[in-house]
């Protein structure tokens, strides 16, 4: 499932350009910020390569891939490396 954060997206459409499966399309109406949001029109084509997620300059895209790099444990929990924190 592809999720686009409407608050973070600035509408640069690099995701549309980079997707080799042409999953994305651009909406015709601007949202309240005046941004023409991309949306995953052909989501069933998605191979979950994660390139759009890595490319997105505004950290607005999430592609859920259980085998992707940030998933380290079986429960799919995201584990950032923060070790020195005395309290959390």
């Amino acid at each position: 499932m592809i999720n686009i954060d409407e608050d973070l997206c600035k509408g640069c459409h690099l995701c549309v350009f980079i997707c080799y499966k042409n999953v994305y399309a651009v909406s015709l109406k601007p949202n309240k910020k005046g941004v023409l949001l991309p949306y995953p029109k052909f989501e069933k084509e998605c191979t979950k390569c994660g390139d759009c997620e890595l490319m997105c300059p505004d950290q607005a895209i999430d592609v859920d891939i259980e085998t992707h790099w940030w998933v380290k444990e079986k429960d799919s929990k995201f584990n950032p490396n923060f070790n020195n924190k005395k309290e959390s």
Binding site: F82, N84, K85, K86, E87
Partner: protein, 374 residues
């Protein structure tokens, strides 16, 4: 064990730095301050410290600020031209509240000037050299012993107030050899690590904050931009800027009593007071002693800390003295500060000697006699 040494001023400065806990030095060679770097290059490795010769003075000032955030007391030594190059990073250190010590062994100026001769032309640069409003602390030693003591004091003040401190020495004090006594126990001010990472505000609007070092998990953001209490840039907010810059000034001005240091000799009843700092104090005190032998009511007032300027003390002196003579090796820098404070009570006079020679006692004596009416 108390140590007695017969050493050069610049070497005494290096000894003082090591005693005060300086474990990181970055510098660039410049006459007449090179002996500070040379001595530390020899000694720092044995004291478990690090010495780096940088590519220029701008880099040296940057490296000691980085070194300070890395958790070491850091210092550099330079002279006028290098001090000019450092000014931007000095402003950064004030804004980011980084404790560093900068030793300026002053020489004849402006520009390249007289590399091997003495001058005191950097006093106003220490005050206003970087752009913007800030309150510096500067100490001016007049003997080799004081160069040692004031370097230790500079580190203590820097840590206490989380601010850059200048040691404004001059070529005479830097290159002169004298006996100094290094006491067994020296009071040093250690840096304080904040207690808790939770809700820690590194730039809290509440006087002087404890300073964490990098790598301790505080996730601190240090910037030269106008920043809020968390350290995050907030440059377009007039209120944030006003609060921040006023706090940076008041943390020095409100603690002037703890910082300002002066030395008064025979000032109580004096009609004429000779004000001096650094090497010229030696001549001034000599001239005052001779004049007193001649029966004149003369006193000597020495600024150990030209900055922050001891306004209250000068004002007090001016109530009794009808004449104040300022002796310095420039064409009037501290003189105008004295004039500003004392002009309503006393007449002020300047002996501004340039050319690379110290004002001699007989020149000062002549001025004392001239204004004293004899």
């Amino acid at each position: 064990m108390v140590k007695e040494l017969f050493i050069q001023g610049n070497e005494a400065c290096a000894e003082g730095a090591l005693k005060a806990g300086c474990r990181f030095f970055a510098g660039y060679p410049i006459t007449p301050s090179t002996e500070v770097a040379e001595t530390l290059a020899i000694k720092l490795p044995a004291y478990k410290g690090s010495f780096v010769q940088m590519e220029d003075e701008i880099g040296a000032a940057g490296a000691i600020i980085g070194g300070s955030w890395g958790g070491s007391k850091s210092m550099t030594a330079t002279s006028g031209p290098g001090f000019s190059l450092m000014q931007e990073n000095i402003g950064y250190a004030f804004m980011s509240e980084t404790p560093i010590v900068i030793v300026d062994v002053q020489r004849g100026s402006p520009s390249t000037g007289q590399p091997t001769m003495v001058g005191q032309g950097d006093m106003m640069q220490a005050r206003w050299g970087s752009h913007g409003d800030y309150e510096p602390i500067a100490l001016s030693p007049s003997s080799v012993q004081e160069f040692f003591d004031f370097t230790v004091e500079a580190f203590n003040l820097a840590e206490k107030f989380r601010t850059p401190v200048f040691v404004m020495a001059d070529e005479i004090v830097g290159h002169m050899r004298e006996k100094i006594i290094i006491p067994d126990k020296i009071d040093i001010v250690p840096r304080k690590m904040p207690e808790s990472q939770k809700d820690f505000l590194p730039f809290k609007n509440n006087g002087i904050n404890p300073m964490p070092s990098f790598g301790e998990g505080f996730d601190i953001h240090v910037t030269g931009l106008t920043h809020d209490e968390r350290g995050y840039p907030d440059a377009n907010n007039p209120k944030t800027h006003d609060t921040l810059v006023r706090r940076l000034s008041s943390k020095i001005l409100d603690n002037k009593k703890d910082i300002v240091s002066t030395q008064k000799d025979f000032c109580e009843e004096a009609d004429i007071v000779v004000v001096s700092y650094g090497a010229p104090f030696r001549s001034a005190l000599n001239a005052v002693n001779i004049a007193r032998d001649d029966g004149l009511k003369v006193g000597s007032f020495k600024l150990n800390t030209p900055w922050p300027f001891p306004e209250a003390e000068i004002r007090e002196i001016s109530k009794n003295a009808s004449h104040i003579i300022v002796v310095e090796m420039n064409l009037g820098q501290i003189y105008w500060e004295v004039e500003r404070v004392a002009c309503s009570n006393s007449k002020t006079h300047l002996i501004g000697k340039i050319g690379g020679e110290i004002p001699k006692p007989n020149e000062i004596l002549a001025e004392i006699k001239k204004v004293g009416g004899n």
